[in-house]
């Protein structure tokens, strides 16, 4: 059972004075209330200052164009130890001794560039072609084994299973141990009290185990000739040599979370969206070629990363507000992807949307998601295989259970029934 905050936040954002709104409360996302709050902020105060929160004061950037501005100006808005609002999580616990966020997502150029470039070839088009066949075979196996006309959990049977299998392939991780990857992923993004992680001690213990396992694999791969898997790429790069053990571990964790949670939740979100917009499912059934636009559209609709953080490097202005040097800034992708001024009928999933690729889910600028093409390929193969089968529809039987996190827009359980 997931953690549920008490007291629950108000469902109506207009019951709270504008300056008291705090969209960083994870309960808003677990209860799926955040959308109404962002709608109000976009309308009344698109660059919003919250003076008091569990993470201290911070700015919320909620409009598409403003988010694009922050994301693409790394000279003004730094990612260095600022990618989430929670400094305790960045430091790895209250004593600063645990596993924090020291990976390239939390760095600025030029260090960011060096470390990012080590792993880029693993997810570049040439390597994706190599992975495509095995991803399809595994997807076919998982989809073929799904029960028909009876209830099952889509998250566990499809979303987690497929993304952990793929990640095991990408890092060439022992296949039978693959569910450890999803556990490590959950513990990396988790914080105490979220229903997954109970304490910082537990979180750090689990992540240090992950570190030991990957150090072992790293040492093995170092002795072997270079292979196109991520661990081998790290083991054979001179840049890795200069990393501290903590940087190595947190870069591995970044790849695990990046390759796991996001695609997983989009696989679940896509099923939910097509359940809610049955006409779109009919369009897809009639024309499976629409998978091409369905995939980016589900990535926008789900927006698996709610926000990423930055810190202002100097005084600057945004949306008429004065942001001061050192201020924390949250780029709410989930809000930008619902911005009526940038996207037509943004709350709806529209499988034949005209320019579906123009969304914020991958971010823009130097930190743009490095695995975006791999994610799209997995999603495309999954939907192609679903549409080849005589499924009349996939019904979502109850409201999905959402995770207690303001960073990841995660679905932990979603009971479905395939009507065939």
């Amino acid at each position: 059972m997931n953690h549920v905050a008490t007291p629950a936040p108000a469902a109506d954002p207009y019951s709270i004075p504008l300056d008291k709104i705090d969209v960083s409360n994870p309960a808003l996302f677990q209860l799926d209330l955040a959308g109404a709050y962002f709608k109000r902020l976009r309308k009344e105060d698109p660059v919003h200052y919250c003076a008091e929160s569990a993470y201290g004061p911070y700015w919320s950037v909620t409009k598409y164009a403003d988010i694009m501005h922050v994301d693409t100006n790394h000279q003004l808005f730094s990612a260095d130890h600022a990618v989430v609002l929670d400094d305790v999580q960045i430091q790895g616990g209250p004593d600063g001794q645990g596993v924090g966020i020291e990976s390239f997502i939390s760095m600025d150029p030029p260090r960011h560039d060096e470390q990012r470039k080590i792993v880029t070839p693993a997810v570049a088009p040439a390597n994706l072609l190599r992975l495509q066949k095995s991803i399809r075979e595994r997807t076919i196996r998982v989809v073929d084994e799904l029960p028909l006309n009876e209830e099952f959990d889509w998250v566990d049977r499809v979303s987690i299973e497929l993304t952990t299998q793929m990640l095991a392939t990408l890092v060439d991780f022992p296949f039978e141990e693959r569910r450890k990857l999803s556990k490590w992923s959950d513990f990396t993004s988790g914080t105490p009290g979220d229903g997954v992680v109970s304490s910082w001690e537990e979180k750090n213990k689990v992540l240090f185990e992950c570190g030991e396992r990957f150090t072992q694999l790293y040492n093995e791969r170092k002795k072997l000739p270079p292979q196109p898997d991520l661990i081998s790429m790290l083991a054979h790069s001179p840049v890795t040599e200069s990393m501290s053990p903590m940087q190595f571990l947190t870069n591995v964790l970044l790849l695990i979370v990046g390759g796991n949670d996001t695609t997983r939740n989009t696989m679940s979100g896509g099923v939910l969206a097509l359940h809610r917009f049955p006409k779109e499912w009919e369009k897809l059934k009639a024309n499976p070629a629409l998978v091409e636009s369905l995939v980016p559209e589900t990535i926008r609709w789900q927006t698996p990363v709610n926000y990423l953080g930055r810190r202002a490097l100097c005084d600057t202005e945004l949306g008429g507000k004065k942001i001061r040097k050192g201020d924390k800034v949250a780029m709410w992708y989930i809000s930008g992807n619902r911005d009526e001024e940038a996207i037509e009928r943004p709350d709806e999933l529209i499988v034949d949307r005209k320019f579906p690729r123009q969304h914020l889910s991958f971010g823009f600028g130097v930190h743009r998601c490095v695995g975006n093409r791999l994610a799209e390929m997995q999603l495309r193969i999954l939907w192609e295989e679903i549409l080849k089968r005589p499924f009349k529809r996939i019904e979502v039987l109850a409201e999905p259970k959402r995770i207690y996190s303001n960073v990841l827009r995660g679905i932990s359980h979603m009971p479905v029934k395939i009507h065939a």
Partner: protein
């Protein structure tokens, strides 16, 4: 209207008309040319409209000079000396007949 020839990595050619003043990324999208995505909408904030300018046309388009374009290309894939982001090239009469090749995948 001046024309542009986009050549996919597979060799398939698409010759289409692109109005002067339009970017070569937008020209591909508006004409349904596959192989150019233009995810950021034309701000050199991603690299999904990466093209190779035919060497014969390079003098007219120029090479990537803008810092932002150069940075995004640096994170891209299979970058060559004649790589550009198509969103940063604006169509003009002088570019009538220009030939652009696409990489095997946008990234």
């Amino acid at each position: 209207m001046p024309s542009v020839t986009y050549i996919e990595a597979s060799g398939t050619k698409h010759t289409v008309n692109v109005e002067s003043g339009t970017s070569l990324m937008r020209g591909a999208l508006n004409n349904g040319v596959p192989g150019i995505d233009g995810d950021c909408g034309g701000q050199a904030a991603c690299a999904t409209c990466h093209v190779y300018v035919d060497p014969a046309w390079l003098a007219k388009t120029g090479r990537a000079e803008d810092e932002r374009e150069k940075t995004m290309l640096e994170f891209s894939n299979a970058v060559q000396d004649n790589s550009r982001l198509a969103c940063q090239i604006t169509m003009t009469d002088a570019l009538d007949g220009i030939v652009l090749r696409m990489p095997e995948g946008q990234f």
